[in-house]
Each structure stands twice: as C-alpha cells, then as structure tokens.
C-alpha cells in the first residue's frame, strides 16, 4: 500500500492551491454577495487545463488521473465552491460522460471545446417533479425519424447560462419507463431553448443556476448518446463519476473550514489565553481533523478504484455521503469556533457552511447515497 502522491499529483495540487489562493480569494466574498458568475476565473482555470483535466490528450484534455482531480477539487473548494462546482460538472459529468459513452464523432466534435473551457458543459437531469426519483422524466424526446423533438423543463441546472453544451436526459418511450429514456447532446443555441430566471440560492451563489425550458427543440439523431433507451443508465453512470467530484468538493469545504479554525483559534484570545488552549476548542479541532482525514481517505480510495478500472460505485457513494455530511458538521463547528466573527462574511466560514449544505443535496442526496450503499450491501 502506498499513500505517497506522485510528483505530478503534487504539482497539480499546488497549481490548484496557488490559483485559488492567488486569484479566487480576491473577490470570492463579493461574487457570493452579488451572485456574480466567475467569468475571468473560469477563463484562467481553462488556461491552466483544469476544465478538462481527465480528458484524453488526443481531445485536448489534461490526461490526468482521478486522484489528481480530487486534489485539485479539494484545494479550489477550500476557497470557492462555486468555481469548483462549475469545474466538477464540466469534468466529471459532461466530459466523463461524453468521453466514456460518446461516439468517436461526438467526442471529436465536442470534447476539445469542453476540455479547453472554450465551451462549458451542463448536465440536465433534474426536473420540477423528478429529483431523487430520476426515473420520472417528464421531458419528452419524440422520435421523428431523422431527429428528436424535445419538450419539457429541467431544473437546478448548473452553468445553464454560461454553458453552451447541454447533456439532456429525456423520455422517448414512456411505456418502457426508465428503459425508454435517452441522453442527448444539445447545443444551447438550438431554437426553442429558453432559460428561467437566475436562482437566488443560499450558497454557491457565484455559480449560475437556472431552469431550462425546451419547446419543440429539434435534436439531430446523431446527437443521441448510446443505443436507444440507454439514457437512464448513462445518467446514473455519469453521476457515479460526478459523486467523486462533489465528495472532493465537500472535503475541500471541510478542510478549508478546519484550516481557518486552526488559524483563528491560535490567534483569538479569551480568558487570558489563545482559545486553542481551551480544551473545548482543542477537542473540536481534533474531532474536525479526524473527520476531514477520513473524508479525504474515502475520496482518494474512490478515485484510486476508478483510476485502476475497478468498480467505484459503492465507495464513491460512501465518499459522497460521508464527505457531504461531515462538511456540514465541520463547517458548522468552524462557525462556532469563530463565534460572532464566524457569523459575518469577512471570515469566510459562514459561506463555507452555506455551501456545504448543497453538497448533501445535489448529485444524489445523502439519503440517496444511503440507498445505493445499503442496496449494494444487502441485495447480494
């Protein structure tokens, strides 16, 4: 067993850290307050190669492994989870899904733009009445011979406005239930697509989230991913990979909150000494650190399984559920350690706490992860 990172993995982690601490930190509070999209940061992230870091270099990707991706996600999420969710959706849902299940023509046409960040990808699965129960797709994709006709509404879409390549899940054969679902590559400029208003969210406010409406949108036949009826499986397989990214995001929120708490508790004084010298605070820090370490190990194990071609679904779900839940706990404790300062924006931890909440909800709630985990253990 080897817990050492390679030289490349360390370089990637450091590059992500340098970028986050040099660039993202400068306006993260302001962008959160104003719900402003991080346009220039996504451009830098693209130039550095992080938007398609695991994509095969023959499609202009970085060719890096999932362990490197985890390290980069953690560092960026410590500072700014709005930026890391844009990166995560592009990398582990859109690029991964296309790279693994797209045809050669689809990959050649779309992956280079996505991997270099010239275009941003979005993943459209959730609907007003289909969240955790993704089988209940109301968006339809009617087979019209040489094209599909899309109608319906998608909800909570990350990068709906900034993105221009959509992966859309829709029902073609309702009688076949989830076996009738298809996945499509849809260019946002296609006539018939309109966006709902910008969602005014509790956290991750710098990432743009909208609903997307499809009204008689024609999608060429060649833009379907996989065989007819493969869409639900595609959606679930993409989410399996996506979970590792969100797990690493939650890990970053927790480890960022821990780092800030350690620093603050060594500086802040109460009752004549630094609060780190009070056991009530010191033990909180110890508990937070154990959770962060466990979370990191789970994330890295899931990534290692994926990199080595082994099944990562179970550990990926464990990582997603555990990291998200401890991110909520650790960021809440971080606010408590910071006291009144923790409740104001200047000290960052209140934002980390707001952002952590979403990691328990999106890309499969913690409860859905427990269904995946328990089924895997109990159904054999």
């Amino acid at each position: 067993m080897n817990f050492e990172f390679t030289e490349e993995q360390i370089m990637i982690r450091d590059a992500a850290r340098d970028f986050a601490q040099r660039d993202l930190i400068t306006d993260v509070i302001e962008r959160d307050t104003n719900a402003e999209y991080p346009t220039k940061h996504i451009q830098t992230l693209s130039e550095l190669g992080f938007m398609g870091m695991m994509v095969d270099p023959k499609y202009d990707g970085g060719g890096m492994d999932t362990v490197s991706y985890i390290l980069a996600m953690e560092e960026i999420s410590k500072i700014d989870a709005s930026v890391s969710v844009i990166m995560s959706v592009n990398n582990s849902l859109v690029c991964y899904g296309l790279g693994k299940y797209g045809t050669e023509e689809q990959k050649q046409k779309y992956l280079p733009d996505l991997a270099t960040g010239r275009k941003i990808g979005a993943y459209l699965l959730s609907e007003p009445e289909a969240g955790s129960d993704a089988t209940m797709q109301r968006t339809t994709a009617e087979d019209k011979g040489d094209y599909y006709l899309l109608n319906g509404t998608k909800n909570w879409i990350t990068s709906a406005n900034a993105g221009s390549i959509y992966l859309v899940i829709a029902q073609t054969h309702p009688e076949k239930k989830h076996h009738g679902i298809n996945a499509f590559i849809v260019e946002k400029e296609t006539p018939g697509i309109s966006l709902g208003p910008h969602e005014d969210k509790m956290g991750m406010r710098s990432s743009d989230t909208h609903s997307v409406m499809f009204t008689d949108v024609k999608v060429p036949k060649e833009n379907r991913i996989g065989e007819d009826g493969f869409g639900f499986k595609f959606a679930m397989k993409a989410l399996e990979a996506g979970r590792i990214g969100i797990a690493a995001q939650a890990l970053g929120l927790a480890s960022g909150a821990l780092e800030r708490s350690i620093q603050y508790s060594k500086e802040r004084k109460a009752f004549g000494t630094e609060i780190a010298n009070h056991q009530a605070i010191a033990f909180k820090i110890a508990d937070m650190a154990v959770k962060v370490e466990n979370a990191r190990n789970l994330c890295l194990k899931a990534a290692w399984l994926k990199d080595n071609g082994k099944s990562f679904s179970l550990v990926g779900s464990m990582a997603k559920q555990y990291c998200a839940d401890i991110a909520m706990e650790v960021t809440t404790e971080a606010v408590q350690i910071h006291g009144g300062y923790g409740y104001v924006k200047e000290y960052h931890v209140e934002r980390l706490m707001r952002e952590a909440k979403l990691t328990q909800i999106y890309e499969g709630t913690s409860e859905i992860q427990k269904i995946v985990i328990s089924r895997a253990l109990l159904r054999d």
Binding site: E7, E8, I10, M11, I12, D14, A15, D18, F19, R22, E47, L48, G49, F50, M53, P57, G61, G62, G63, M64
Partner: protein
C-alpha cells in the same frame, strides 16, 4: 538566443525554521521545498520574452546546484515552461562554490543571457550572480527591475537610490533581477505538468572546489512580543503606552 535561469531550491516561506547539530545545521525534516521566489519570477519573465520573441529565443534552460531532493522543484520549473535542466549534484551551501559549479557546468554552452535572482529566500547571500559573471568573464548588471528585448540586444532598467537607470548591453551577460521583473509567477498548466517528466534533466557531477564559508552557528530572532490593541478613540492610552512601556517616545 539561449537563456539560462539559475534556480535555488529553498524552503517554503511558511516553513517553521529549526536547527540541529548544536544549531550548526538547518533541520530539513518535513520541509516543503519551492523555487526561490526571485528565480520563479525570472523564469516567468524569460518565458514572456520567449513567447513574444517570434522564435528569436530558442531555448530556456534552468540550472540548480543540489541533491536529488532538488529535482521536484526543478521539474516544476520545467512544468512552468523551461525547456531543459541541469542539476549539479552537490549540496548548495557556499555562494562561491555554487557560482563556480554553475560556471563549470555551462561554460561551454554559450548562453546569451543568464538570469539569477538577486538573492535566495533561505540564506539571502546575494552573491552567486556576480560571482558567476566573474567566473565566466562576462559582464553582470545587478538590481534589474525590467528586462526587454531591444534591437540586437536587451534593454534593462536598474533600480538605483532615488531613481532608475536604463542600460543597454551586449550579449552575453548575467542579469541579477529584483522582484518586480514581472507581476507574478506563472502557475504550471496541465500540459506543462504532463510534459515536465519528458523534458531533459541532465545531472552533472561537481568540479572540485573549496568552500570559502561554513556555517558555525544559527540563531533564531527573538520571539515577537505580543501585540497590544488600543482603541482608536483612546489616543491618550496609546501615547502613554508608547512612552512608559515601549519607551520609544
């Protein structure tokens, strides 16, 4: 044109400094190593010049005197964009020794421009650049804060007391640069990181040379006194404290 950047492998600036062997040796245990910040800026500026040169600058090499532990730092410089690297396999402790080793390793290579940071963030000796130029028998310009390509040569701005000098030079020479030579160091991108392992990193053995200095004893600066906060409204107390406690007024 060929450019050489001298790279020092130094402890991260946030490292907790400790000493061993009766305070005669720096304890490298658990230390994170980085490219000396001045050298990282020098490399970034050289890359900017190369990219704008339309092919006139063919190659940027880096050189470092250090053990195998210096290689990750050197590989990072390759990831940032240097084309190749030379490591002189010896510990770098004495400025004369380091400058001599660099000169020996590159004297046949005919670099047109050699850039060294004005100091390294560990020992801050500020000596290698000038000594290197002397060993190679070429001019050097110190405290360079701007470096631009000019017709057939290079134009430099050098900081002097109360102003600056613009200097034109003939190649080859050694530029000893200050911070400010460029805005910020470049972060390596994925492609650079992927290419770094494939770029040549040549290891050469040191030439026998004596060290002119040795470290006898290190002393840590006294711990900083606790900071006392005074209410901005309470100027009287501030003056009183400065007078009676700090005894500076």
């Amino acid at each position: 044109m060929k450019i050489l950047i001298c790279i020092s492998n130094v402890p991260d600036t946030t490292t907790k400094i400790r000493f061993v062997d009766n305070n005669a040796k720096f304890d490298t245990n658990g230390v994170q190593w980085i490219i000396n910040p001045w050298d990282e800026l020098a490399l970034t500026r050289a890359l900017e010049l190369k990219e704008a040169s339309g092919g006139a600058i063919e190659k940027i090499s880096i050189i470092s005197v250090g053990g195998t532990g210096a290689e990750p730092t050197m590989r990072k410089a390759l990831a940032i964009g240097a084309d190749d690297a030379i490591r002189v396999n010896a510990e770098a402790t004495d400025a004369y020794f380091v400058a001599f080793q660099i000169a020996e390793a590159v004297k046949e290579e005919n670099y047109d421009l050699i850039i060294a940071g004005i100091e390294s963030s560990d020992y801050n000796g500020s000596a290698v650049g000038g000594m290197l130029a002397e060993f190679l028998g070429i001019p050097s310009v110190s405290s360079v804060s701007k470096i631009e390509m000019a017709d057939g040569g290079i134009s430099l701005v050098r900081e002097i007391d109360g102003g600056s000098e613009v200097i034109g030079t003939q190649l080859p020479f050694v530029a000893i640069i200050q911070k400010g030579i460029t805005l910020e160091p470049r972060i390596p991108n994925m492609r650079g990181i992927m290419m770094a392992r494939k770029k040549p990193l040549k290891v050469v053995e040191p030439t026998a040379a004596e060290m002119l200095t040795e470290f006898v004893d290190y002393d840590l600066p006294p711990a900083k006194a606790a900071c006392k906060m005074v209410d901005p409204e309470n100027m009287k107390e501030l003056v009183n404290l400065l007078h009676t406690e700090a005894k500076v007024i």
